[in-house]
């Protein structure tokens, strides 16, 4: 008969062996560098990154592990790794620079790596934009610039050409909607909605945070003008379904042959080309009649934003020096060039020389991408990126504000007052530092 002590000894030993099975940290025996990143929108990019990571590992006799997850999962993974102070060495950060402020105390300073990388690549495009509290807490890695994707056959059909301003797109959207091909931009909870609405706000001279990065600036006559424009765009040129759109919806609308134009990175075009999608009712590939033109300008400015995908090193990483070494390797001009090539130009680095990469001349579709990159700024522009400014985007306050007015549920003053209150609470809450 097994007594209670024997039982406890056996079960405790068994449990411990289960826990330890395969769980002995590899670092005890070999050097291992781990990297958590997101599944690229263009899968070949992941393959090229893996190739470079393994090549670097072989050269330096370091075991490497690249873990790829969907971008929607990254927030949860980051939060748990930081709280446990355990996880990967290198991590993708984003889709904004706000992570660097939010996790400021958990990220290694990368001033030295940023300084090494810049001269070899013609410098960073807008270095001051990437500094958080005056430091390089991350390296800006890649962005998908936001041009306007348009159906050229439909444009011809309605007698339009060379659209350049938001007013042009409103007119085109109205004509398109009349023949069953509306303009399409999300007004729901999606990253695309944040980007397009910010583009419109800036084009009218509005912004949601002032240059000091602390003052909420949403309550302005410029915001009111932008909201009047979006109301017209929604009621005259779009279908109500845009209120429920996610990030995939506008791609689907364009590739399904419905939308005349969308404000989006080139992912819709890339997937249409790869899958040989045809225009409904014809044998003609839709990719042949899609073109990309510059992000529109407004009465005041031409500016847009996008997902700022970045890379950082946790300060609880086991191999900080190795991680920095890999970053220097990955950011070598030839490796960056191969990586951009693999991404078909979708993943534009924040390095000046890479805006001249041959891929942008390889297809007329890509000709405006470097132009869009030049007018791309962080979402908090003209203020610096902070965790608060990022939270405003994460809570989709701007799309809600625009949608409330566009659908007539609130007056323009009510919608702005609501958004202002929400934003002020966020900025005040961050100041309190719970």
């Amino acid at each position: 008969m097994v007594n209670r002590r024997q039982f406890l000894r056996v079960t405790a030993g068994g449990a411990a062996s289960v826990v330890m099975a395969g769980g002995v940290p590899a670092t005890a025996q070999t050097r291992e560098l781990t990297f958590l990143t997101i599944a690229s929108f263009v899968p070949e990019t992941d393959k090229e990154l893996k190739r470079q990571f393994e090549e670097w590992g072989a050269k330096n006799k370091v075991k490497v592990r690249l873990d790829i997850i969907a971008h929607l999962q990254l927030v949860t993974k980051k939060a748990s790794e930081v709280q446990a102070r355990s996880g990967h060495d290198l991590t993708a950060l984003g889709p904004g620079l706000g992570d660097a402020d939010l996790y400021f105390d958990h990220l290694v300073d990368l001033n030295d790596v940023a300084a090494d990388v810049a001269p070899k690549n013609g410098g960073w495009m807008n270095p001051n934009d990437y500094l958080i509290r005056g430091k390089w807490k991350l390296l800006p890695w890649w962005m998908p610039p936001f041009p306007m994707a348009v159906r050229t056959d439909l444009l011809e059909q309605i007698g339009e050409k060379n659209p350049d301003t938001w007013e042009d797109w409103l007119r085109i959207g109205k004509k398109g909607k009349a023949i069953g091909h509306p303009f399409g931009t999300a007004l729901g909870h999606s990253g695309d909605a944040n980007v397009t609405l910010l583009s419109i706000m800036w084009s009218y001279g509005a912004s949601y945070v002032a240059k000091d990065g602390k003052t909420v600036a949403i309550n302005s006559k410029e915001t009111r003008q932008a909201m009047e424009f979006v109301k017209r765009l929604y009621t005259e040129a779009m279908d109500p379904e845009v209120l429920a759109w996610d990030d995939a919806s506008n791609n689907r609308c364009l590739n399904a042959g419905k939308c005349i134009a969308i404000h989006n990175p080139i992912s819709a075009f890339e997937s249409a080309k790869r899958d040989k999608v045809v225009i409904p009712g014809t044998q003609r590939e839709i990719a042949e009649v899609i073109d990309h033109v510059n992000t529109p300008r407004g009465p005041v400015d031409r500016r847009t934003t996008t997902g700022y995908w970045c890379v950082g090193i946790w300060n609880f990483a086991k191999n900080v020096d190795l991680a920095k070494d890999f970053l220097r390797y990955h950011f070598q001009p030839e490796n960056q060039a191969k990586w951009v090539d693999a991404g078909h130009g979708f993943n534009m680095p924040f390095l000046t020389n890479l805006t001249k990469h041959p891929v942008y001349k390889s297809d007329k579709q890509y000709r405006f991408i470097p132009e869009v990159a030049k007018v791309t700024v962080p979402p908090s522009w003209p203020g610096p990126t902070t965790a608060s400014s990022q939270q405003v985007l994460d809570l989709y306050i701007l799309p809600d504000m625009f949608a409330q007015y566009a659908t007539g549920k609130m007056t323009v003053d009510q919608a702005i007052a609501w958004a202002e209150k929400e934003m002020q609470e966020i900025f005040a809450g961050r100041k309190r530092k719970f």
Partner: protein, 273 residues
């Protein structure tokens, strides 16, 4: 047809629609081509019908590996849960010890704590133990939600069994363990099967812990693997996602169909005849 019968038929049809339409929709999409999904053509029946999503899922991703990981984890968790919940349920239902009622209530409270509150502390514990990035981390953590629920379920089953049967065994010279193993557990089999099915289902469908505790692609479970591989930014591979959902739901369907008869017949067999 009487009004009552007509009402019953309408009710049954409505119920069947609510239950079956989502499954049908998933299966329907999994057999559609990219164009059919994209252009919303052949909405109700795929024309043409294609296996392409299934073959792509099976051959172009690590789906078979993810399926195996899910199976290993769910079976191990179900076994662990069944043993622990049976013993726990029996102890609370049949043994007299101080605080018994409090323990029973605490078990329910434990089950009510949302996993979303627990994943960070649990990850920290597992990281301290060096157990992250192993299937063992899932096998050890899933019982935190399966055991309380199944124990609670089994308390009810054990309470419903007549005391006389166990007492008769004890009077005949059986030890308490022998009475449990030879008399009570066979009688509680329907409840144990039901709790095992619940444990399997909860483990099989679990997403959050699997996402957080395990990173390498070769160790992902099906739920996380499919999501990671088939959603790329603003591009959703709907056909593959639906094919994954269909294959993923099969073991659960089989488990329920296979054990349902046993469960029902066991429940009605009665122990006091």
């Amino acid at each position: 047809m009487t009004a009552a019968r007509a009402f019953a038929v309408v009710g049954f049809v409505a119920f069947a629609l609510v239950v079956l339409v989502p499954f049908w929709w998933i299966a329907n999409m999994s057999f559609k081509t990219y164009e059919q999904v994209q252009f919303a053509t052949s909405i109700y029946v795929p024309r043409p019908f294609t296996w392409a999503n299934y073959t792509a899922l099976w051959l172009d991703t690590r789906f078979p590996l993810w399926l195996r990981n899910s199976l290993v984890t769910a079976v191990a968790v179900t076994a662990l849960t069944t043993v622990m919940a049976s013993l726990g349920g029996y102890a609370i239902a049949r043994l007299r010890f101080p605080g018994r009622e409090v323990v029973a209530s605490l078990i329910l409270v434990l089950y009510l704590v949302p996993p979303a509150l627990l994943f960070i502390p649990l990850y920290r514990v597992l990281a301290e133990l060096g157990a992250t990035n192993t299937l063992a981390s899932l096998i050890l953590s899933y019982p935190t939600f399966t055991v309380p629920f199944c124990t609670w379920l089994l308390i009810g089953f054990f309470k419903a069994l007549p005391h006389e049967l166990e007492e008769a065994a004890l009077v005949d010279g059986a030890t308490r363990t022998a009475a449990l193993v030879r008399v009570l557990l066979p009688l509680a089999a329907p409840g144990i099967v039901a709790s095992a099915i619940f444990a399997f289902t909860l483990s099989w469908n679990e997403f959050l812990y699997s996402l957080v505790f395990v990173s390498p692609a070769e160790l992902k479970t099906m739920t996380v693997g499919v999501f990671s591989e088939l959603i790329r930014g603003d591009i959703y591979y709907w056909g593959g996602l639906m094919a994954g959902a269909c294959i993923g739901s099969l073991p659960i369907v089989v488990a329920y169909v296979f054990f349902l008869d046993y469960y029902v017949s066991g429940l009605t067999a009665g122990a006091v005849k």
